[in-house]
Every structure is written in C-alpha cells, then in structure tokens.
C-alpha cells in the first residue's frame, strides 16, 4: 500500500483491470512484438502519465486548462531541438531536459499567477489563448522548430533500434535499443503516475480538493488558494513536459501535429472524462480505452463507411468515414460528461450510485 500512497483501487474489478493493463504493458515487447503494437503500448504509457498530470488539474482542482499540450510540446521540442543541434549524444538529452523542464515550469507559473487569481473560467480562456499563440510561434519560428515539418533527429547510440544489447539466441528474444527505450518510457511513466498519486494523497492534495469543492471556504480556512493552484499547475506542467520528452525520444521527431495540436488536447480531455476525473487510476483506464479504440476502431469505421456507400445510403458514408472519428468521439464525450460524470473508475467504485 505504501507504493500506492494508501489509495488502492477500492474495487475488485478495477484492480483486476489495472493489473491486466500494467502486466500487458510490462511484457509488451515480448508478447506483442509488431511495430504497430509497440507504438500503441508506448502511446498508452505516455498518455497515461500525461492524462494523470492533467487529472491533477481537472479532477483535483476543478480548473480546466487548454494549455496542457503546450507543456507536452515544450518537452518534445526541447529534446528534439537539443538532439538535432548538438548531435545524438547524452549531453544533448541532458541539455534538453534542463532547458525544457524549467521553461515549462516558468510558463506555468506565469499563467497561474496571471489567471488563477480570478475564476476557473478565466483560467480556461487564458490557457486556450496562450496555447494557440504558442502553436503559432512553433510553426512560424522555422529556424528553431523546423516550422510545420518539425524536427527529426537521431537518438544516442544506446537507444537506437540497431543496437543489440542481448542477442536473440540467448532467450529467444532480441533485446535491442528500441526495447530499452520502451522500458525507459514504461518505468518513467510508472514513476510519474505513482508520484502524482502520492501528491494527491498528501495534505497538499487534500487542500486542492478543498479548493475544488469550495474555494471560498478554503480561503476562509487560511489556505492561500492561488499559491496552491499555481503549485498544482506547475507540477502538472512538469509532468506533461516530461511525457513530451519521452514521446519525442520514442518518435525521434517533434512537430506541431504530434505534440502541440488542439486535437491532442481534446484527446486528453476525453481520456480524463472517460477514465474518471479525480481518481488518477482513471488516467490509466482512459488512456488505454481511448488509444486502443483510436488504433483499432478507425479501421472498423472505414469498413462500415464503405458498406454504407455500397448500399447507396445518403450521408451515412460521410458520417462514418474514418476521418470523422472525432464526430463520434465528441458525442461520446458529451454523453459521458452528462451520464457518467465520474467516468469508468467512479462507476466501478460505486456501481449503484445514480449520476447526479
């Protein structure tokens, strides 16, 4: 229980689900060796951490930020730019980390001090504006960021796919740099999620929940709410930037579409809401469900669209086209905010409770 900070899943089914997901992720390179399956597993790890950090804001403080992908992007770009300009070595990785993390934190601090003084709604609007300005900057400053094309780079020797660490004839599995990178990401993400779980179950986390429930009362009790909210915002930004760094290391690329776009922001929102706001475990469940669906349901939609087109139905082929996947996602999103405000985790913990 120590490692879970005294906050166990509190539902047998949820516990089983989590064990299955984590076990599958832990053995993914050996059991699902294909390139696509590996990408899916990595994405689940990274997004679980990213979504958990977003849950610290949305679920535990009740403030909606639209700038989370900005921090994710700062992490991605700082690693990419460092490795691109300094060459594939560990000094560059370190340089990316020591520039990216403080940058993300300072920006989070600035936004927090500016907008958290007023209202939750203010924070949402200002983060949206700042994030869109950052996206414009990232695609315009091509000398630094590579513009719309982004930055591709080489990894340090140890992490490259060509590097064989344990040859295949030892255990029947080849352990190469790619597998090592995967485990680096897996361990880092697990550590971040456990750390966040620790944060939300600390006295600090209780204060955040008190602010969420009644900010005025928390203020009256003597807590400086702006300080606590800004602190949470900075923590979330740091984790998001770290997740962005891991993402860049896996993709060997950082660009506006993979790390900054508004659609990633919506994905994160959706994962938090589906998984369950304010639970942390919801991040793992939400990311897993969403990414599996994203990768395997779109093909199904394409098939359905073609079938509808052959049957000569009007409009339906357009609505079922794989590119319209966001349409159905949006409807699902609205439905889950309305009918399942506590998400999958809340449902599993309190199966009998009616939605409020």
């Amino acid at each position: 229980m120590m490692i879970l900070s005294g906050d166990p899943p509190r539902s047998r089914l949820l516990g089983i689900l989590l064990v299955v997901i984590i076990a599958a992720l832990a053995v993914a390179p050996f059991v699902f060796p294909g390139a696509k399956a590996m990408n899916v597993a990595t994405k689940i790890c990274i997004f679980a951490a990213l979504v958990a950090s977003y849950d610290l804001l949305l679920g535990y403080t009740g403030s909606v930020s639209f700038a989370h992908t900005m921090f994710y992007g700062i992490g991605s770009y700082s690693i990419a730019i460092a490795l691109y300009s300094m060459g594939p070595n560990w000094t560059a990785v370190a340089a990316g980390v020591v520039t990216g993390l403080p940058l993300a934190m300072l920006l989070a601090l600035g936004i927090g001090l500016f907008s958290l003084r007023v209202e939750a709604i203010f924070f949402a609007m200002i983060t949206l504006a700042v994030a869109s300005a950052f996206l414009v900057l990232a695609s315009q400053l091509s000398w630094l960021t590579g513009g719309e094309d982004g930055r591709s780079f080489q990894l340090p020797e140890l992490l490259r796919p060509g590097t064989v660490i344990i040859p295949k004839d030892w255990f029947g599995f080849a352990i190469n740099g790619r597998v090592l990178t995967y485990y680096l990401i897996f361990v880092a993400c697990a550590a971040m999620i456990l750390a966040l779980l620790r944060v939300v179950n600390s006295p600090f986390g209780r204060v955040l929940q008190a602010i969420r429930e009644n900010r005025f009362r928390a203020e009256a009790l003597g807590f400086r709410t702006v300080f606590h909210l800004t602190y949470a915002n900075c923590l979330a930004a740091l984790v998001a930037a770290s997740a962005g760094m891991l993402n860049a290391l896996w993709l060997r690329y950082a660009g506006p579409d993979t790390s900054l776009s508004f659609s990633i922001m919506l994905d994160i929102l959706l994962m938090v809401v589906i998984g369950g706001m304010g639970t942390m475990y919801g991040a793992i469940i939400g990311a897993t469900i969403f990414i599996l669906a994203q990768n395997y349901l779109q093909a199904l939609m394409g098939a359905a669209s073609n079938a509808a087109a052959e049957a000569g139905l009007p409009l339906l082929p357009g609505l079922l086209h794989p590119d319209r996947w966001l349409l159905w996602l949006g409807l699902l999103f609205i439905a889950s905010v309305y009918f399942f405000p506590t998400g999958v985790v809340g449902r599993l913990r309190n199966p009998s409770r009616k939605p409020s």
Partner: protein, 336 residues
C-alpha cells in the same frame, strides 16, 4: 447619455472613461510611428472594420456570460455554421452576387445574412436545451459540454460540406475602394463598420431602454425576485442565448465575405480571437467587449504593418498588458 428629465436626487456612479478612450489614444499614438498619413487612415479604417466584425461575433458570447453566467466554448461553431449557411444562398445565386448593381447585391446578401442568423439562432436553441440546460451553474461541466459541442459541430460541417475551403467572392458593388485624395477606403469595410455600429447601438438600446432589457438586467441581479413577480426568466434567457448565437452567425457571414472563403476550422481560429476580446473587455461587459474588439483589431493591423513578425502574437501581448493593468478586464462586471 445625459437624460434631461432624470431627477438629480441620486448621485450618479462615477464614469470610468479611460478604457473607452484607449482606442483613440492608441490610434493617435500610432500616427507618428507610421509616418504616412494615407496609410494611417487606411490602417485605421481597416482596424475599425475588423474590430466591428469581431465585436459582432463576440457580443453574443459576452452577453450570454454576463446574463446567464454560461460560458460557451462552442461559440465558434455558431460563427462557422453562419458562414456555411450563407454559402447556401450566395453560391447558387452567384449571377446576382456578381451583378454590378448595389441593390441587386444587397437583395441577395440580406436574405443570406438573415438566413444565417436564423439557422445559428435555431442551433442556439438546440444547444441551450440539450447541452447547457443540464449544467446550469456548473462552470466545469459547461466548459466540457460546450467543448464537446464544438467538436461535433465542426465534424458535422466537414461531413456535410467536405474538408475543402469554399471560396465566397465579395459582391461586385462592394469590391474596390473609394479614393479620397491619396487615401483608399475599401467599400466592404465601410459596410462592416456601419453594421457593427448598428448592432452595438441596438444592443445598448434594448438593454437600457426597453422593458425586456430591464427584465434581463433585473434577472441577472436577482433571479428569484423576478420569477416571483411572475416573469418567466428561463424563457427570457433562452431568447438571449438565441440572439447571441444569431449574432455569431451574422459575424460569421461578414468574416467569410471579408476573407472571401469559408472553412470548417474558422470556428476554432475565431474562438480564440473572440475569447481574447471578451477577456480584455471584462467578462460580461458589452461596452468592454466593443473596446476590446477595436483594440485587438488595431494591434493586429498596426502591428502587422510595423512589425509583421510580432503581429502573430500581438493579441496575446495586448491581453497580458491589459490584465496587468486590470486583472478582470477593462470593465469588470462586479455583480459576481
């Protein structure tokens, strides 16, 4: 607005006019920097026209927030829907749009704009009933629900009209400019300015001089009391929401004609701009929204002329500057 018949017994609240003077101060300060008088006039007119269009789009958002305490993150969807609906009228009737007669052009433009307003207003009705009604008073859920609505609306536009950019040419008689001396003033910009002023005046008149306006303002102050007096405040608010969405639709048509193109993602881009304007003005304040729109447009136009690179983030810088000065925007609505 001095009313001669008003009794002098009550002390009037102190007028806070400094923010209202900001656009004029900014424009005058830019005159020496730009140097040439004719480009200054052109830029100023361009700013005013752009500002009026942004105001029309933003007024609905700030009205709805001020009166109903509902923040609609899907406001951009009404803008985009308005623009798309206008293409339904303007593209099939292209010969009339391209006829070189102001009357014929307006005879096509007016119904297109009215239809857009009607459709986006009706969409507002649906959105209010389906998305916002269950989450009154819960800001977090409002943001989530309306963001979901924005995604669905944008994707539905893609599904119905396809992903390509639709060109929407300006009517023939509104193209080109009036040349006065060495100053060129685009005709369409004059029209946009005029329309913006009319909308601003109409909103102010309705809110301040009519019984409906009185009820709305009273409902904002104390909802239970107005209900107890027998007025149906829910219906009134629904009407306000529909008017707000209709105005967004009108703004969408004007913006689409200004840019001469329609695209489903225009809602996203304009949402950000409209939010910045509403934040600068102070959430819920119509006057602040008007000034904010002018300021944003001015910074964009003057900035684009003087320092093109800076123009990309100029509105964020403006927002930061204003919030340093007044953390709740130019005219903070103090009732909450």
């Amino acid at each position: 607005m001095t009313d001669l018949a008003a009794p002098e017994a009550l002390p009037k609240p102190k007028r806070d006019i400094l923010p209202a003077l900001l656009p004029a101060i900014l424009a005058l300060a830019m005159l020496p920097l730009i140097g040439s008088g004719s480009s200054w006039v052109t830029l100023t007119v361009a700013s005013l026209a752009m500002g009026m269009m942004i105001f029309i789009m933003a007024s609905g958002l700030t009205l709805v927030f001020g009166l109903m305490d509902v923040l609609n993150f899907g406001h951009g969807a009404f803008i985009a829907v308005g623009a798309y609906v206008a293409t339904l009228v303007l593209l099939p009737l292209a010969p009339y749009v391209q006829a070189d007669s102001l009357l014929t052009n307006l005879a096509v433009l007016a119904p297109a704009a009215l239809l857009s307003m009607a459709v986006s207003g009706a969409l507002g009705l649906v959105v209010e009933r389906v998305l916002i009604l269950p989450v009154y008073g819960q800001h977090l859920k409002q943001i989530l629900m309306t963001t979901g609505g924005l995604i669905v609306a944008e994707q539905a536009l893609y599904a119905l009209w396809g992903p390509q950019i639709i060109p929407l040419p300006l009517p023939a008689s509104l193209r080109g400019s009036f040349i006065i001396g060495d100053v060129a003033i685009a005709k369409y910009r004059l029209l946009a300015m005029l329309l913006g002023l009319v909308v601003f005046a109409a909103i102010q008149l309705v809110l301040n001089r009519t019984k409906i306006g009185l009820l709305i303002r009273a409902g904002v102050e104390n909802r239970e009391m107005v209900e107890a007096l027998g007025y149906r405040i829910r219906r009134l608010f629904l009407g306000v929401f529909m008017v707000g969405s209709g105005l967004a639709g009108l703004g969408g048509v004007m913006w689409a004609l200004y840019r001469e193109q329609v695209h489903a993602s225009m809602g996203d881009d304009l949402t950000v701009l409209v939010f910045i304007v509403v934040i600068i003005g102070g959430l819920g304040s119509i006057g602040g929204c008007f000034i904010g729109a002018l300021l944003v447009a001015m910074v964009a136009n003057y900035g684009g002329f003087l320092v093109p690179k800076l123009a990309l983030v100029s509105n964020i810088l403006l927002m930061v500057a204003i919030l340093m000065w007044r953390p709740r925007g130019l005219y903070a609505v103090t009732s909450r």
